[in-house]
């Protein structure tokens, strides 16, 4: 049954992206305004959580309590700390700065997985730093022996326009959305992560005849994939795909193009969606259809 999405907020910038639940509110990236906003479900109000975020898109909390933020304009992932500061990590790979990080996911071990794309938006400052040779999935890990204390590795190379990224709850599987054919097709790519952190071969549990944007994973390990549009319509949608690749459901999001989705709410039974139209949407009462704890 298609959930009912309510519109909670519309950003003037019309450019929303990443989502992260704080425990009491839903953070969402307002790229155009270079802000992270927070929707409080208790009050129904949206406030500014962090200003001057340099086109931050993907956001995810790490086990250290930091919010990892993919700054598209800064070509880096930074750690937004509770004291209000923004700390650098490592953004150089093979002697070059990474491309434009889009979305991030943090696995149970604290590694940060990054979809690293080319972008039509120029980076901030002088355009003097060459891009990487290809789009990639990167992994950022603590590395005390490195000068910056961080290590940035390329884990998947040559992937076309990687967008959404998610890790299974057990940390043993990586999912990446890839937009193909200029956004007219999409693949959900999956990789097993072994106990040493190495990736297995790519599998493609789901293909779409539209671009796939953001991803999230529910407690049962099913992937929710934001689809640019449903087949034969102009409406966007969300596909629900189980671990083995079967599509369990397909929801329409009429009037909107979903960009990212994430669970939140006190009972983790609210699905939040950001859209290309600048709206923050929410579907409540998802328990039973999504939340594994109902099973």
């Amino acid at each position: 049954m298609n959930p009912i999405f309510e519109c909670l907020y519309v950003a003037e910038s019309k450019e929303l992206g990443g989502l992260a639940w704080t425990g009491s509110g839903m953070l969402f990236a307002d790229l155009g305004a270079s802000m992270i906003r927070c929707f409080n479900p208790d009050t129904g109000k949206t406030d500014i959580w962090r200003r001057y975020t340099n086109r931050t898109n993907g956001i995810a909390f790490g086990p250290d309590g930091a919010l990892y933020a993919a700054q598209e304009s800064g070509r880096r992932v930074v750690r937004l700390l509770e004291d209000g500061s923004s700390r650098p990590t490592c953004s150089v790979l093979d002697g070059r700065y990474q491309n434009h990080p889009t979305f991030v996911a943090v696995d149970p071990a604290g590694s940060v997985w990054i979809s690293d794309c080319f972008s039509v938006h120029p980076a901030a400052g002088p355009q003097i730093f060459p891009m990487q040779d290809c789009e990639s999935v990167l992994r950022l890990r603590r590395s005390p022996q490195r000068p910056a204390g961080w290590c940035l590795e390329r884990m998947v190379s040559g992937i076309e326009f990687p967008r959404g990224i998610a890790v299974s709850p057990a940390g043993d599987r990586l999912y990446v959305a890839s937009a193909l054919k200029g956004g007219n097709a999409g693949e959900l790519c999956a990789y097993l992560i072994d106990e040493h952190g190495a990736l297995g071969p790519k599998s493609v549990p789901y293909r779409a005849d539209t671009a796939i944007h953001g991803l999230c994973v529910d407690d049962a390990g099913r992937v929710l994939a934001c689809l640019d549009r449903l087949h034969g319509t102009t409406a966007g949608g969300i596909a629900i795909i189980d671990c083995e690749g079967a599509r369990e459901d397909l929801w329409g999001v009429p009037g909107y193009t979903p960009i990212q989705c994430a669970f939140g709410g006190p009972a983790n039974d609210e699905l939040y969606v950001t859209t290309r139209q600048g709206a923050l949407l929410r579907a409540v009462g998802m328990r039973g259809s999504i939340d594994a704890r109902e099973r």
Partner: protein, 307 residues
Amino acid sequence: MNPMRATPISHDAGSAGLGHILAPGSTFEIIADDLRFGEGPVWHRREATFYWVDIVGDTIWRWSAARGRELVMRPSGKANGLTLDAEGRLVAAGWARRSIWRLEEDGSISTLSTHYEGKRINSPNDLVVKSDGAIYFTDPSGALNNVGMGGDDLQRYLDFHGVYRLEPSGELRLVVRDFVYPNGLAFSPDESLLYVNDTRAMLIRVFKVREDGLLDAGRVFAKVDGDGPGRPDGMKVDVEGNVYCTGPSGVHIFSPDGRWLGRIKVPGHITNFSFGGDDSRDLFVVTQTSVLRTRLGIPGLPVGPRD
């Protein structure tokens, strides 16, 4: 030391011309051409030495005819603008360090300013020392956003890009807060006027300096137009009060009443420049990748010790 090479200079001129400033047939000597992002030029008269920075290279360099090129400091906290105080000490706009700091004779660093009203300042870009010892500096947020230029904290805390006066006592006073992106700044010969340019608005504003060091509301002095790489960034004034400002394709020169006199064309993407030499008639130009030198017909205003 790089072998000196010469490259011809072209220019274009307004109605009043550039003839008394740039002689026909002038050339640029190439002093350095291996920079990642050159900036911060200043001439030290006592030492007969030219200093500059490589922001991305995180280095302060110097050059003299006697000793050639030498490393001064690395890492430099990605220092940006440099100038000299009345004692001849190097004072830096700490771009990534988010401070104004001074290099002491023993090589140590004294931090002069880091916060305004309890908040960490953005990323000081350029600075000038007034004869009363106060330091005026611009504080856009570029280092917090730009690729490859940040420091240990990339968060912007202030809602404006200010121009400040740092008193000799250490008190920091905001003197202008309505710039889009303030960058280069320079005093008129008698210090009654302060010119400040705006990189994004592509213009120069001028302010009357009050006795207490604060500024009036100011007005637009000139717009900096043209094609090619370069924007309002470095800015200096000569002894006749002409205002020199980087801009598209080179150094744009304006008379004291704001008329465009012309442009010295510079190869590459100019970022800043400095007068220098014994008679202050050398013009050292810094681009993203190079340091060049030529001669001018009018001395520039020197900085640093008055002796």
